[in-house]
Subunit: 250 residues, 6 copies
Amino acid sequence: DFMHALEEVKAAFGVSEEELETAMAAGILHFSPYIENILKDGRLFVDLVRTSATTSLLSISKDSNFPFIKLVSAENMVGFSEMAKIQYLNKVFSDAYKSPQNIVVIDNIERIIEWVPIGPRFSNPVLQALMVLLTKQPPAPRRLLIIGTTSQRSVLKQLDLQAIFNRELAVPNVNTHAELASILREVQAFDSENGLVQSLNELRDITGTDQVGVGIKKVLLAVGEAKQEVGNVESRFAEVIAQQIAASRD
Amino acid sequence: DFMHALEEVKAAFGVSEEELETAMAAGILHFSPYIENILKDGRLFVDLVRTSATTSLLSISKDSNFPFIKLVSAENMVGFSEMAKIQYLNKVFSDAYKSPQNIVVIDNIERIIEWVPIGPRFSNPVLQALMVLLTKQPPAPRRLLIIGTTSQRSVLKQLDLQAIFNRELAVPNVNTHAELASILREVQAFDSENGLVQSLNELRDITGTDQVGVGIKKVLLAVGEAKQEVGNVESRFAEVIAQQIAASRD
Amino acid sequence: DFMHALEEVKAAFGVSEEELETAMAAGILHFSPYIENILKDGRLFVDLVRTSATTSLLSISKDSNFPFIKLVSAENMVGFSEMAKIQYLNKVFSDAYKSPQNIVVIDNIERIIEWVPIGPRFSNPVLQALMVLLTKQPPAPRRLLIIGTTSQRSVLKQLDLQAIFNRELAVPNVNTHAELASILREVQAFDSENGLVQSLNELRDITGTDQVGVGIKKVLLAVGEAKQEVGNVESRFAEVIAQQIAASRD
Amino acid sequence: DFMHALEEVKAAFGVSEEELETAMAAGILHFSPYIENILKDGRLFVDLVRTSATTSLLSISKDSNFPFIKLVSAENMVGFSEMAKIQYLNKVFSDAYKSPQNIVVIDNIERIIEWVPIGPRFSNPVLQALMVLLTKQPPAPRRLLIIGTTSQRSVLKQLDLQAIFNRELAVPNVNTHAELASILREVQAFDSENGLVQSLNELRDITGTDQVGVGIKKVLLAVGEAKQEVGNVESRFAEVIAQQIAASRD
Amino acid sequence: DFMHALEEVKAAFGVSEEELETAMAAGILHFSPYIENILKDGRLFVDLVRTSATTSLLSISKDSNFPFIKLVSAENMVGFSEMAKIQYLNKVFSDAYKSPQNIVVIDNIERIIEWVPIGPRFSNPVLQALMVLLTKQPPAPRRLLIIGTTSQRSVLKQLDLQAIFNRELAVPNVNTHAELASILREVQAFDSENGLVQSLNELRDITGTDQVGVGIKKVLLAVGEAKQEVGNVESRFAEVIAQQIAASRD
Amino acid sequence: DFMHALEEVKAAFGVSEEELETAMAAGILHFSPYIENILKDGRLFVDLVRTSATTSLLSISKDSNFPFIKLVSAENMVGFSEMAKIQYLNKVFSDAYKSPQNIVVIDNIERIIEWVPIGPRFSNPVLQALMVLLTKQPPAPRRLLIIGTTSQRSVLKQLDLQAIFNRELAVPNVNTHAELASILREVQAFDSENGLVQSLNELRDITGTDQVGVGIKKVLLAVGEAKQEVGNVESRFAEVIAQQIAASRD
Ligand SMILES: Nc1ncnc2c1ncn2[C@@H]1O[C@H](COP(=O)(O)OP(=O)(O)OP(=O)(O)O)[C@@H](O)[C@H]1O
Ligand SMILES: Nc1ncnc2c1ncn2[C@@H]1O[C@H](COP(=O)(O)OP(=O)(O)OP(=O)(O)O)[C@@H](O)[C@H]1O
Ligand SMILES: Nc1ncnc2c1ncn2[C@@H]1O[C@H](COP(=O)(O)OP(=O)(O)OP(=O)(O)O)[C@@H](O)[C@H]1O
Ligand SMILES: Nc1ncnc2c1ncn2[C@@H]1O[C@H](COP(=O)(O)OP(=O)(O)OP(=O)(O)O)[C@@H](O)[C@H]1O
Ligand SMILES: Nc1ncnc2c1ncn2[C@@H]1O[C@H](COP(=O)(O)OP(=O)(O)OP(=O)(O)O)[C@@H](O)[C@H]1O
Ligand SMILES: Nc1ncnc2c1ncn2[C@@H]1O[C@H](COP(=O)(O)OP(=O)(O)OP(=O)(O)O)[C@@H](O)[C@H]1O
Ligand SMILES: [Mg+2]
Ligand SMILES: [Mg+2]
Ligand SMILES: [Mg+2]
Ligand SMILES: [Mg+2]
Ligand SMILES: [Mg+2]
Ligand SMILES: [Mg+2]
């Protein structure tokens, strides 16, 4: 299974074990055929792809021939001045040029450039450094795969950052009851298939639709929340996920 | 009663006695069934909730299994530079990762990020650090419950901060004469039930409605103010609370 | 009379004599019943009031049980950096927590936060520190009365500062000829009641109304200006005050 | 004449001779009855006036009983940081409090606060310091006359600065041919009264009006310019002043 | 061929070999007659031209009589402060004045001035230094050819930078199937002419047009991507380039 | 001729030979009667004029009685901080006050204040220092002629800078074929008058008008460019200048 696969990969990647473990703690559930495509696409075009969303990118890089991977995340830069961030980024890329084939993952780009929609404000020096580093050619014959993730595609577009990436992959929400059911089965949310059917029926009664449109993270949290209400897991799950659907629309 | 319960909790929480005592000095009055729900909700979903309003959250955490609690408040950061604030926040979270289960309470988020509606202005570096720290996964198998409070929900929404919290609880105003009466009884505002009825009748005469819509803090202040006018407490309370109702509408 | 009363108070207040003397040099004239109300109100609700306008607040605090008073004014902070201002404010409040009952007067809040309507601009760090300090509970069982003054009520409202104060008192202008006459009599502006009547008649001829709408400070300055034109004081006063009325409307 | 009067005053004023000499080099021409009024007004209300325009204010202060005068001008602050400007202003006022009666002249306020209409931008810290210093009461029984000048009255109004001054005096342009003729005679612009008439006729032919609307400084410069074209002074003056009139309208 | 020509040039240019090699790694494909014109134009007016787009400019300078060339790129300034950037620019120009004939290439001007369309923001000090240096005359009899490149012509126009350049050259996209075919042939994208025809037919089927409108860089990447899908190169190329065409329109 | 005249002047001016030589390298061509007027005007009113455009101002000052001249240009301030610029400006003016008669030339004012139309942005501290220095009276009996140049008259107007100058001179473009012909003859652009006629005819054929509207600098560059295409100079000149005319309109 995935957690096992991950362990094999870790050594190859050369990143600290703890970092990767945290980032991929949940495993990847294959809830829609689209996810399969991302992974297939990812493997196939691994030297071209620069895409979005933390979890799937690690899976993509797994089968590639790039032996080293470096994860750049705002979490490692809390309290850094702008200049310190730029130097950190610059160092990551300089190091990456030293081995023949590399992957640099820039996770949550909007957080690294300190984007906030009010204003809007962001760190232009960090953005500019990132733009230069993303465009810079590694000295021949070195190769570098750069993967970026974001939950604010339109922001990157406005900032002329999107055009720098050669290829874009969207990470889908859980969109239908069918996809939802596949996840609930995989994580064994309910004791029986009957419970699953009952819960989804209750959900359909509340929302009046088969549409879901909620991220997988919120689905998994709802499962955890429902399981605490022993004896009433099915109804509680329907309630909570209905709230999430409503919230995602407001 | 509550003050007693609090004392039991204090030791368990591991926060300084004085800090908690100040924050919860008034006790929690259960003036509406909705408050009951918040507390029940809180207990139930203690590992999911990230919610709003200082007083109720401490009650929520009381019955949880989290042995340590840390209160982050702008009051402890007066005169801090942006960088010092960020380092303080970072330290709180780093410390929280050290024990297996923790609660971090971020009180009055809008004050910590220095929000002001004119401009609007706020400290983007502090906001960004907060966003990263709120999203960061504690190293497995540690668990962390983060609770935030605010009186400016819409601000948090505009700042993309609200979406980081998994669950939201609204703290209600005192809305009806019935709720108002229950509070007045609990704090023994008047010498007799007759006095209570008379005061609320006078209030109804002034406002022409049973609606109140005033925070419990202002109700308690009005009681204190009325009690100073010995021999005329009922009328004075009606007057003062009527002014508050009018002010809350302008 | 007032100046005498003031002397009794000074010792009790514990503020430097010169500071108070400067601030209250003119004495308080009771030109309208409304002023009486402010003072009565002030005495009554001294532990709740946080209000506006330098002169009247010192009178309010006179009969209170608060033995210490601290005046925070932009005049003492000229040339301070933002950080120095915040530290000064912080120190005032910290000191105030040390004695059991205190009054802190924040005079001309709009000047302390460096408000200017063009932009608008102001010092957000100072504003934020003020908001936190105004909201902070003194450690039990200490009590603290905070009084703020401003001539820009709407600014404070826009900045969410007004809501922090529990109670608001407006300081009125001199609005009618009757109020104006009472002041002119108290300060003995003219040699005779005939002169007073003549002067107000001339004023009514110029303005065509009994409305005044000018602050008491400008009235007193007009008296001083008129008195310099010996032999023509009545006409000159009417002229000058008519100019002030016109200016206050443009 | 004026230059003589000035010399008598200088000693009394206690300002450096050279500074005053530069500022008043041109003498004051009494080209309109309005100027007379300003001077009369100025003398009369010398303890109330805070007004505009460098030249006339020195004349105003001449007959006052204030023995010391201090000129605050942006010319003495070129290259100062904001903080240095504030400290300079603070020192001027502190010094002024030391002698019993003083005049402080703030020349060209818009330049001291670094006003520019694009933006608009200005130094808010300097403005705020100025506002506080202008409002501050000198310690009793000291008296302080503050005179400010500006060529941007509306700017001061927008900045809430105008309201701080108790009285306002406008310095007029040269508005009519009659006023213009009186100046030309006083400075002996032409060799004969005939020349004067001829020149103003030519001017009327060009502009088609008796209106002038040009500052006295530009009139004096035009005289100097015309005098260089020996043999054609009258026509040249008419040409140049017509250009100035046109420019002042565009 | 080109790579050979380049080698001859390198010595003459006096730039570091590695820098040039990286910048021109791909060689110049002559895909449209327009490109020929740029090169011809470039050669002809080499002492006048200041133009756009990294690759072609090096070809332009090849046949000129300017023996030294200096490449100014944001890649060499990552992490520089504004002041350091300005000093770097200043040094490049000062050095260039030392030899009798020079070329300075300013690559990606919008990146050097840290342009971002949101705001918009950019480094005005760097821009201003650049404007002055671009306009400055080298001390006679020295000559200096300055070539600038940008992918944001309209930005340069808004910044008054465009007017400083005497001449402007546009670098075209690959616009037609004919141009696309010429490139595919030159890089031997497919095994046979048949494959080429098939692939372009498939492309025409998808897009419904002969228009392309994609930069040559993306065409070359698409070739690389297609070649990985052995046995299906033609269809895959059509798919990928169709996506690029769609993306360039959205 | 002009270059000769210049040499005579240089000694008198006391500026470094190289600086002047660079600034006036091209000589002044008298292409329109208007230029003659500027020079006449300039000579006549040399103690009043503050005007625009580098080349003509040096000619203006040649016949004046001012023995010293100081050129202030952004080229000498590249990499200066705001404060360093202000100190440099301040020093130039202080030095100028030391000799009895002086000229200070402020070249390209918009560059010195770092103006950019996007925003717009500029250095307000430098602008303010400039405004004060331009207005300041030199200590009597010293005289100072200040000449400013700009290619952005409307910017100076918006910044209230234009009003500080007493007189304004516009430097014209080459506007008609007649003016163009006079320049082409003076610089011997073509071998024969026939060639000149032919070239202007071709130009008229392309543009369909006798209007030119191009600065003299671009005309001279076009001549240089055309001369490189030996055997085709006339047609090439018509082509290039037609492009310039088109560009000046877009
Ligand atoms: N395919 C999946 N299978 C199982 N769990 C998943 C899957 N994708 C995401 N998750 C869960 O959702 C959580 C968040 O996923 P991830 O961090 O990849 O999302 P993201 O798009 O990067 O979000 P963010 O914007 O917060 O960075 C993961 O910790 C994991 O628990
Ligand atoms: N349920 C309650 N019972 C009794 N008193 C209460 C209750 N809730 C609030 N109070 C009183 O109101 C005061 C303010 O409450 P609390 O600080 O929790 O409000 P808040 O929503 O956090 O307001 P703020 O925005 O000022 O932080 C408390 O000090 C307490 O006196
Ligand atoms: N009731 C009063 N009786 C007599 N004089 C008064 C009275 N109120 C104000 N004054 C006079 O007006 C002056 C200004 O009053 P005060 O400083 O209280 O006004 P304020 O509202 O605080 O104005 P500011 O906005 O300038 O601070 C005082 O110095 C005093 O001379
Ligand atoms: N009444 C007057 N008689 C003679 N000359 C005058 C008079 N008023 C002004 N001037 C001349 O005009 C010049 C400018 O006057 P002044 O400096 O007082 O004007 P200002 O309004 O202060 O202008 P600024 O805005 O430049 O400070 C003086 O140097 C003087 O030459
Ligand atoms: N005529 C050409 N022939 C072959 N390859 C080319 C040609 N022009 C560009 N390329 C390829 O496209 C890549 C990008 O070209 P270049 O750097 O010149 O583009 P640019 O316009 O400067 O883009 P950027 O905006 O990224 O600086 C080059 O590395 C090269 O691979
Ligand atoms: N009348 C003239 N005769 C000959 N050449 C001229 C003339 N005027 C300008 N030039 C040429 O044009 C060039 C630019 O002129 P100048 O520097 O005076 O223009 P400017 O208006 O100051 O432009 P900028 O805005 O770039 O400062 C000069 O170097 C010179 O070659
Ligand atoms: Mg992520
Ligand atoms: Mg709270
Ligand atoms: Mg006051
Ligand atoms: Mg002046
Ligand atoms: Mg490039
Ligand atoms: Mg110039």
